[in-house]
Subunit: 390 residues, 4 copies
């Protein structure tokens, strides 16, 4: 029996398809590994590229049944919906502008959706999509994958339990350096579509990584944003979208924060970092070293909590695979989102079924919030960093 | 098509079975994830426990076909060898004393073997097993998983290319703390069998982790041992096997080294660390932070090489899944060994087929060397740390 | 011969006096150690406290000649100016509001001034003081001590030489946690005066530490500020001055930056950190680990430059006392400012003498800039973080 | 009043002289800064070099009165003993072989001695010196300076209070890289005398740094050595003394340990590190980052104790100058030894006076133990690393 599920509910893996993720793509391969890791999913169909040749070649490369390699997502949604063994879920891993039409097609075909971030290329689309999810009642999981890291779950749990006291300060940053020079000019696929407003939407760094930082800040702190003031730049000549983002945040209730996201900060590979401070203590987490969480209660010695180690609580344990000292990484964190998705989808197999209370994943509403953040950043920056509500 | 292989050779995943790895086990689950991660393997049979009830329950839990859940490895080897869709490979993840009889049974049944370390409980068995592998010509992969880490491959490549000059010093250590108190007395399964000479063999910490450190030192430095002087202790009263190991090493050609392995060093979760120094430079790698490799050329600034980043060469790139800054971990390193195994097994599908030259995995000979190391440590320690050849 | 000077110009140590720094003070003791470290200074007079009893007791405690322990700085300036062996320089280490009148008294008495930061309590005073320094021609050294760290000198040199290319981004932060609770309410001397606008001026965290961060950012990047947008808070109820400062920066020429300064960030003891990124590379420096400088040239491996080690250039070497691996710290960095002051004062002993070109210390103009920064932060924050010029 | 003492006992600074420490020397300058830092000492005489020209030039450079710059230590001891304002103490900072005759001369002249390590070039001399100290009753302070670091005092206090339980394991290492190539061949002064058995004694790395590691291990753990097994190498051709030292340790009571000291480990500048593990917890300290102490109680979260921060106790506080987050370094640690020496010497000014109980410094007995360690290493290594008692 292939792909035996870790959770072992005997009901078999979830058949899923993929839109995007063909040759030259980055995130599609990540989704496939994440889906495979715990044996909960089975990839059986795909529309892997908008280029028919590439779609075909990509399907062959990953061993898809040629009959279920489709030329378009529309065709795939239609065909799979008719099959008795059709896909139960789809993973959408295309450029941002395709998220909305693809998700719409599958939701309307009665298929659950796992979608990469940001949710859509525009806020208008995002809101429509949220309404559609509501209407269809299908499971919709947005892969803000960093929320899947065990120590992020730990941090969130500590904040929720009041271990940090009243939250006063949130500092999030996400520097990278891969766009320090004009990579799109070389034809590199990732740089090209991510730098194209038609495919990406209004935000460059704001959309690609700023939205991750903002999502993580909300996820851990539990705070809601009141307004933001953003100063965006495109330092590389000719670049159409921002590559550096400075934001000041005002949260409801009085907490303050900052976000810095950059694609032009040499030395930073994928430097997502979150720090939260309250009246009783602070926490600090760095994505590149994700198995550690600093906890600094005011007036006591600094503590380093490790994934799987003493001090890590049940929220982290739920999504931990191996003992402390055996580092988990990006793929495990990503797979945790897939694991949560599997729980939700399995629950939905039963009429009216709901996932257990402890199932946590980024929803379409989180996606709406994220696109609103991107557009608010752009709007604020155009108005000389005026304070802007989402 | 389920479990599409990353390498995509179109020839389908490898059917494999598992011996050991039932409920309460640790490493079996790790093997299963590693086997799943790249879609190269398909788990179809198992003898998951020597306890029939537990075997059955474990098989159900992971979704194995009940017909192919066997009460013993002997039965499994026999039955699977007869099936047209029988397993091509077996993963042996039992206590050490079962490695030999199980491996023997499968090799003789014409089935490739992936076996956890140490190779066997005694050197005599190890040598017999090596002879059997030679005789049968089957693929035999020993999961010294730390050799699968990209930055370890990088370090090895740098040494081989002479970037460190003539190697003078090798410092390896592997401290843990999980046996600081008498855990076996609580009935904990891992502590119980690992502390039992009948199941583990002559070495405690020496066998469980010292052998990993020694293997890694050899793998990276390319040196061969001349002799060692070992001082072993069991600090926890009543413990039958060593829990702390101090070793001095003399390599052929004059290099020197030390190994420290401990299960009673509070604060260390899984502290494997390797440092190698030559006439031109040094390297340092820490398992808990495996995406980094310090390279310190003499007379130049210290360099931090990152997995996927600038400075990482082809040997690391071969076993890298995601870009720099997206941390890979223990499971990815382990899965790299499975990936190499898949390459070797696929090559062996063709009569006389050999894997490509760049396929690297720990062999049965490495296993013989490892058991020889364990027994030499024990022998040396009994003779007041006398210098001892393997 | 006491206090033999390291620089050994045979002209004897510089006689100096101190204003402030009596019992219960913090920074006065630091100045005294810094002055002593290289034997360039000799403490011979003091007006150590505005409280006569405390002044007397403090003078006795540190061994001052009772005759030269004065009840006020005014008296001291007058008396010392008349003595043939009177002080050549004074160190002013009082609360901020005393800086101006004290500095004025000594400058007018023909005595060089070493003054703690911020320069004064108001920008108006700062400008008057700058004019007075210009008029009197005396040496005026502001102890923005962090500019004395060797690796900060190194960073500055690298930027100046173009190793980072065109500077695009400056990120400075200075979090602390000592005011997480209402420490002033306990009567703690440092918290009391620093939280009192009459003694401190308009800025709390902005004035005490934000100005350090801003000074360091300018010192290393060589950039000039165009305008800033600041959002200040006082999170602890009843606090009159800000304890958390978020600032966005726009530099002339187009570079952008952020400053975060906080006194309510649990876990941070004295977390000054500076990062600068340009079109060719980045640098990162952390005050708590001051002997290291990360240099990350785009497209090459990350380098860790160490004080005294390979890669550290002449600007760092000038202010380095001990070899690499022998850590220098806060006091050595502070003493480097005193060493530079000594060079300037010794040069001034000769009529028309000027210090050598490589003598670098924060000047009264830097102090004006710093107070302007503080007041601009306060002004901006009051106008809803409007962009404000200094 | 010059050099006002921090401890402020009103009794004035201690007049001292220096033997060695002329131009080209390293450690002499360090002693002078350490002596100056707290104002407890006043340098008034010197025999700075065995070369009369260099002695004279060196004295002039540091501003010594030419009359009190002597051509030899013998002359200096004699002359100073006669002066009413003669030196009360001498700092001996020569190559090792001069320690004994110089110390002897000053002790016999009734002058207290502060002497660099190792104590002497031979164990025979060391024992004679210890007897002489006993006989004369003078203060004798050996500058094993690393015992002056606050977090080392903290570690020692924690062990003594039983926070680690019964000590089982001690791991000390002291790698450097400055002798990776044949530096002595270039005429470099430090490399030349340290590599010359006539000036250094029997040990190379063992004597220069191994003895520091051993001293620190004893100081913190409180353990006494039973025996050692050492394997020494000189990797650089033509080198007469060892440059790499592997040692296994057996302590009385059953604890075990290892020391690795090396001068040929590229990337290590001054990598002294100490780890101690007991039945209840562990500690880890790294000299290059001396303000941090890891404390890892078994079964609780890892704690990072910082100098001056929460968790640092009275033993550390006694030798702490500035608040947490303001890093202290090598010179402050060294100065702490001088501060302790000052306390002892001041106590001795009163007939029969003894320093307070909490005054701690390395004694002549520690020095005997250190030289015994060096000679035992050499002896053991010559006998194929046989177990050897000191």
């Amino acid at each position: 029996m292939v792909g035996a599920s870790k959770s072992g509910n005997g009901s078999g893996p979830i058949r899923y398809g993929m839109v995007g993720g063909g040759q030259g793509a980055f995130i599609g391969g990540v989704h496939r590994i994440a889906a495979r890791m715990d044996g909960d999913f089975q990839l059986v169909a795909g529309a892997l590229s908008s280029n028919p040749e590439r779609a075909k070649a990509s399907a062959a490369e990953i061993g898809l049944d040629p009959e279920r390699s489709y030329a378009s997502f529309a065709e795939m949604a239609k065909a799979e919906a008719k099959r008795p063994d059709g896909i139960e879920a789809v993973a959408i891993v295309t450029p941002n502008n395709i998220h909305f039409p693809a998700a719409k097609a599958f939701l309307e075909a009665g298929i659950h959706v796992i979608c990469d971030k940001p949710l859509t290329a525009t806020l208008a689309e995002a809101k429509k999509l949220a309404a559609l999810v509501e209407k269809t009642g299908k499971v919709f999981v947005l892969t803000h994958n960093y929320t899947g890291y065990p120590m992020i779950r730990q941090a969130r749990e500590m904040v929720a339990k009041g271990q940090l006291g009243d939250i006063r300060i949130v500092q999030a940053e996400y520097p990278q350096d891969w766009l320090t020079e004009d990579l799109a000019a070389t034809g590199q696929k990732q740089a090209s579509w991510r730098g194209d407003p038609k495919q990406s939407g209004a935000g460059g760094a704001a959309g690609d990584i700023g939205t991750h930082a903002y999502n993580l800040a909300r996820f851990v702190s539990g705070l809601e944003l009141d307004s933001l003031s953003a100063d965006l730049d495109a330092f590389v000549p000719g670049r159409l979208l921002d590559d550096n983002v400075n934001v000041m945040l005002r949260f409801k209730g009085g907490a303050k924060g900052m976000i810095w996201a950059s694609q032009v900060a040499p030395g930073h590979e994928n430097g997502l970092k979150l720090r939260v401070y309250g009246s009783k203590g602070g926490i600090e987490w760095v994505q590149a070293d994700p198995n550690y969480l600093w906890y600094t209660p005011f007036g006591a010695a600094k503590q380093l909590i490790t994934r799987g180690g003493v001090g890590a609580g049940p929220a982290a344990a739920r999504v931990t695979r191996v003992p402390s000292g055996h580092p988990e990484g990006y793929l495990e964190g990503f797979a945790n989102i897939y694991q949560e998705a599997a729980r939700a989808i399995r629950a939905a197999r039963k009429k009216g079924g709901k996932p257990a209370r402890d199932v946590i994943y980024p929803t379409v509403q989180d996606g709406v919030e994220g696109v609103a953040f991107i557009e608010a950043c752009v709007r604020s920056s155009k108005k000389n960093a005026a304070w802007t509500k989402l």
